[in-house]
Structures are given as C-alpha cells and as structure tokens.
C-alpha cells in the first residue's frame, strides 16, 4: 500500500500558542523553585563565610539554580519557557527582597536566554537528554559569565577555571539529569497529563 502524502510531508511545527494552563504551570514551577531556593538560603546562610574559602564546593550545587530553565521547557514544550520560568523565579526573589536583589533578574535572564537558544536551535522539537545537557551547560556558561563580571572580575584564573568546571558538571548532572528524573517522577503521578510528551 502506498504511503500517503501526509506521511512523507515534514512534521508540522509544534503548536506555539501558550494555553492558560501552560502559562500558569510554568509560572508555578518558577515560583515553587523560588520558594525552595528561599527556604534553602535561609537555612544555609550561615555557611556562606566558610564556603567563601572553597567556593567550588558551593558551585557543585549550582545546578539546582539552573533547573527551572531546563525543567520548564521539558514539561511545557513551548517557545520562551526557559526565559519565562527563570524570570518568574527571579522576580519572586526580587519581590521578596533577597540578598542578591535586582542582580537575580539579570542572571536569571541570562541563564534562561542561554537555555532558550539551545531549544530554539532544535526548533523546539528536541527534548532528549543531549539537548537538555546542552541547554544546562549553556545556562551554566551564561551564569559563569555573569558571575565573573559582577562578582569575580579580579579573581585568580585557576580558581575561575575550577569554578567553571564545577558549574558545568553540576549543570549536567543536577540541572539536566535532575530534570529528567523529576519529569519522569511527575509523569508517573499523572499531574502532567495534558502536556505534550
């Protein structure tokens, strides 16, 4: 039997219009992470001076801060998810008055935009492990550049490299790997029914 014309035509572009549900759930993911970051910061603020001596330790957990930029696109699958969710999480910090103030908005934007570029490059059709790792790493690089300019412009080069390596590892394992595991767990609960697979 001959295949139909449809089967040979290129796949239609994914539906790019955001439903209300897409918007609110993306926002909610950003806010949920914002709440966790806030509570975590409060709990571990005392460790800051100590960690100042070995910052790459803290940078190994940097991936957590990058999760919204990877998890949201993985779930929502619409253009702009990475930027929107990161901005919502950052905006929450800004409104609650976190220590890093408006800078969170800048770094959030850079992290989100970097991840967004990766997803855009795949025309928003690929959400496999490789794409996610690339998006996470791109986000980590953006974060690194931001931190370098704002917080570490005069720091010793070796330390900078150590930081960068720690952040990239953290991004791949935690931001990308963690997002994959998280999405899988969420899917089992049924809460993602109605979102594209």
């Amino acid at each position: 039997m001959a295949s139909t014309i449809d089967e040979r035509a290129p796949k239609s572009l994914p539906d790019t219009r955001w439903r209300t549900r897409d918007i609110v759930v993306a926002a909610v993911i950003g806010v949920a992470f914002g709440v966790v970051f806030w509570a975590w910061n409060l709990a571990y603020a005392a460790a800051d001076p100590i960690v100042a001596f070995a910052p790459w330790l803290k940078d190994l957990t940097y991936g957590v801060w990058l999760m919204p930029a990877v998890l949201a696109p993985l779930i929502i699958r619409k253009p702009g998810a990475a930027i929107f969710t990161e901005m919502v999480a950052a905006g929450l910090s800004a409104l609650l008055g976190s220590v890093w103030g408006p800078d969170v908005l800048l770094s959030g934007f850079m992290q989100g935009a970097a991840a967004e570029l990766v997803f855009a490059f795949t025309l928003y059709r690929s959400y496999g492990a490789i794409t996610l790792v690339l998006a996470a790493v791109a986000s980590a690089i953006a974060a690194f550049v931001h931190d370098w300019v704002v917080y570490y412009p005069t720091t010793d080069q070796t330390i900078q490299i150590l930081r960068a390596v720690a952040m990239v590892i953290s991004a791949s394992l935690i931001a990308a790997g963690g997002s994959i595991l998280l999405e899988r767990s969420l899917r089992r609960t049924g809460v993602l029914d109605g979102f594209p697979d």
Binding site: R19, R188, T189, G190, V191, D193, G194
Partner: protein, 477 residues
C-alpha cells in the same frame, strides 16, 4: 438591565477523560428552567464535578477527553470552585472582582460602577483594598461568588463551594444563594454534599451513581421518594441524615479525663504563632487521658488545626510545654523515629502528606521489618489491597482511596496518640462510615484519638469529649 437567567437542556450527555477506561458520567438528560436550581448529588467518583464543568463549557477545552451527547446552555456561565485559594487570582478584593470584567473587555467606567455594587451584595463592602488572602474562608468563597457574578452571567455553576468552609461560613454562603434564587438572578447548578442546606434550594435533583450513570432526575421530593433507598445504598448523603448541633456532647474540659492518673497528652500554658507577634494559640492548657476521644471544634483559623500539630510535636510552642506519653516527653524534641511510634497525624488534604512514588512505598516508608509485616493486612482492611494498588502513584488515587491511604500511613505504626485534621471533609456516606468504624476500632484497642473537626455528626458518632477552640483559647462550656 441585567440579562435574564438562562435555560439549560442536556441530552444524553457524557464525558470520558482521555486515557480513562470508562466515562466519568454518561446518559444524563434533563431540562432546567430559567432561574431554577439544579442540585447534583452523588458518591465520590460519580462524576458530578465533571458534569458541572461540562455545563460550564470547561471540559474538552482545558481537560482532555471526549464529550458525547448534546448540551444547550442559554447564556454565559459563571463558575465557583471548591477551593477558595486556587480560584482567587489577584491580591486584592476589588482587583479580584475586576479580573473577570477586564477579561471580558468591560470599559473602565462600567467596572467602577459595578464593583462596589457586587461587593455590597456579597456583604463585603469596605474590603476593597484588603488582601484576599487575609479574608476568612467563608468571605473568600463569597468573594469568588461575587467575582463570578460580576459580569452578570445568566447561569451559575457551583462545584462543592462549601466543602472547605466551617459551619458559619457555609451558612452565610447558602444565605447568599437563597437570595440570588429568590431574586431570580441566575439559573443555578449546585454540586453539594451538605444536603441539609442545599436540598431546600433545589427545584430539580440529579442523583449520579458510583459508576457515573444517573440514578434519578426530578423534583426533590419525587427523587427522594422513588430512589431514596438506592441513593443511601450508594453512599449519597440524604437530608434526613442531619445532626442537631445542640445535641453534641459538650462537657467542659475542666472535667477530669476518664482515667485521671494517666493523662497521655498534657498541654500547659502553650502559646504559638507562625509569624512573629501574631499568636495563634494563647496560653492554652489541656489534658487528654489515655484512650480518650477528644474533638477539637471551633471556627476555621481559631487554632484547632495548629493545636493538633503541637500535640504531636510537629510544631514547637513559643511558650509553655507539651508532654506526650506517660514519660512526659516533649514531642517537638523527640527524634522522628521515636516520635512516629508515639504519635500519628492525618493531614486534612491527604495529598499534602504523600512522599513516595508508589502506594506500597508510601505505606512502607521508614518502617522497621517488624512493623512492615503489618502492612498487607492493614491495607486489605482499608480496601487498598497491595496487589491491586501497590504499584500505583499515590496521586492517581481517587479522593476516597487517597484518604484511606493517608489513614494507613498514620495507623501502620499503631501510635498511642492519633491526631486527625478534618478527616471527613468532602466524604460521601460510605467513606464516612468506613472512617468512623476504623476510628472506633482503634479507640477500643486503646489508641487516644484527637480529631479537629467541624463535623458534629462525627463528634456524636465517636462519643467524643468536646473542646472548643476559639481565637487560640479553650472556651469553657
């Protein structure tokens, strides 16, 4: 001039969720006259909420699935949902009302005129700039109703609007519905468990059965006469199941517990607040004897839920002491493993306490091998046999099943003291009977029960001693 209320005609209507094995509800046919009220009742899982959302035009748009049959709805629909918090989307009261009007493109002047009117009707005048989060539950639901009514819809759908309210809040809400109906301002479809108050409002009753098929449709008295028995058998609450509040056992706390020598929980001069300078519990003292059954009653926000958490050390008092068990341990300082053996807590919303990927994992969390042996038997007794439910995600259970799982989790260690927070919220008759039975069995076996509840029926059925908690204090009878 407000538009007239709309009519509704439904023919063979049914809906199946995507991926569902059977329809949520099916074969519903009825006609509702303008300005009339339809009451939809049914046990858990009967699809009554789905039906309400279908009338509102929200299924198949937000909710993936297939709608069969025909539905004619004569005009725009306003909707009020069960949970106040998730339907209020703006920070301030007046902005909340404006939200719907803005979405429909009302000009600003018209909005400025309409909003004060709507607030006054709802008894919320003067609260324009108040944060909706700071309103009581009852006020929030009246606000949600006002928001739904602001654009003057001809039809109003309410899905268990009083399920989370205390009796005062519910009464005020029903009063509002009564006045809407008497003014013939809207056609109303009401899904409710609180039949004592809802039944008199209805012109038409639709009873759905456990499998989503209609048991009966018709005027309330006819339906009751024809199908009352069958409805009761399916677990639907009927108007004659009422409890007369005055009969509730109200012995003052000052009376000594049954076995005076062995109080198992002693609260002494406890004060507590979530925020600095805003105490929720004021200098409260209370003594609960071993194997007693105590009901904490009182309005929402009065502190009974907070007190429940203090009793089992989930919160630490700012002042005063809590002593749990005969050795007088402070539960908030016990290690979790020790605490879990002494105290158990059942959360109001079962899902808010789920921690695992599967039902089997959830029940088995943190158990020693000796304790784990009890699990299969307990799950069978609660109607959640492991071979059927074990590998499911806890979040995929129905409301009743989730409630039973949360009970299992609290009961599996056989704690000496069990605290439950509103365990009968939204339960149908069968769920309620099952719960009552389990609690009585446990109590007979020696477990001390503390139940924070509005449900005076439960208080009576448990023959519990009543402690009224109001404004963070015990009110003596």
């Amino acid at each position: 001039m407000a538009p007239p209320p709309g009519r509704i005609r439904v023919d063979g209507l049914g809906f199946t969720y995507r991926g569902g094995t059977r329809p949520a509800f099916h074969d519903v046919s009825l006609e509702l006259a303008a300005g009339a009220c339809l009451l939809v009742v049914g046990p858990s899982g009967s699809g009554k909420s789905t039906f309400a959302l279908a009338i509102a035009g929200l299924v198949a748009r937000d909710i993936p699935g297939e709608l069969t049959g025909s539905l004619v709805v004569d005009g725009p629909v306003g909707v009020v949902f069960q949970d106040p918090a998730s339907q209020l989307v703006m920070e301030r009261v007046e902005d909340e009302i404006a939200f719907g009007l803005e979405s429909l493109g009302w000009p600003r002047d018209a909005m400025r005129e309409r909003i004060p009117q709507v607030l006054a009707d709802a008894g919320l005048e003067g609260l324009e700039r108040r944060r909706s989060q700071r309103l009581s539950g009852g006020q929030q639901q009246r606000l949600a109703l006002a928001g739904a009514l602001a654009p003057q819809p001809g039809i109003l759908v309410l899905d268990e609007p009083t399920a989370n309210l205390d009796p005062d809040g519910a009464a005020a809400f029903f009063a509002r519905l009564r006045s809407l109906l008497s003014e013939r301002r809207a056609t109303i479809i009401l899904v409710e468990h609180r039949v004592e108050e809802a039944w008199p409002l209805a012109n038409l009753v639709l009873a759905l059965g456990r499998d989503g098929a209609p048991i009966d449709v018709g005027p309330p008295d006819d339906v009751l006469a024809r199908s009352g028995e069958r409805m009761a058998a399916e677990g639907i609450w009927l108007p004659k199941d009422r409890v007369v509040p005055a009969q509730a056992n109200a012995s003052p706390i000052a009376a000594p517990p049954p076995d005076p020598g062995s109080p198992i929980v002693t609260v002494n001069g406890v004060s507590f607040g979530y925020e600095r300078d805003v105490p929720v519990i004021h200098d409260l003292s209370l003594s609960i004897g071993r194997a007693e059954r105590v009901a904490l009653v009182g309005p929402n926000g009065g502190g009974k839920s907070t007190l429940g958490r203090l009793l089992v050390g989930l919160l630490r008092p700012d002042h005063g002491t809590v002593a749990l068990d005969l050795a007088g341990h402070d539960p908030s300082r016990l290690k979790p493993a020790e605490l879990a053996r002494l105290g158990g807590y059942v959360f109001q919303d079962p899902e808010s306490g789920f921690l695992a990927n599967t039902v089997a994992e959830e029940v088995g969390l943190g158990l020693t091998p000796a304790e784990a042996v009890r699990v299969p038997g307990l799950m069978d007794r609660l109607g959640l046999p492991l071979d059927e439910f074990g590998s499911r995600s806890p979040y995929r259970l129905s409301g009743g099943e989730a409630r039973r799982l949360s009970l299992a989790v609290a009961l599996v260690r056989d704690p000496a003291v069990l605290v439950l927070d509103e365990p009968t919220f939204g339960q149908d008759r069968l769920g309620y009977d099952g719960l009552r039975q389990i609690l009585r069995d446990r109590s007979d076996a020696g477990t001390t029960l503390v139940v924070a509840t509005h449900d005076l029926r439960l208080v009576r059925d448990l023959d519990a001693r009543v402690a009224e908690i109001r404004d963070g204090r015990v009110v003596h009878g």
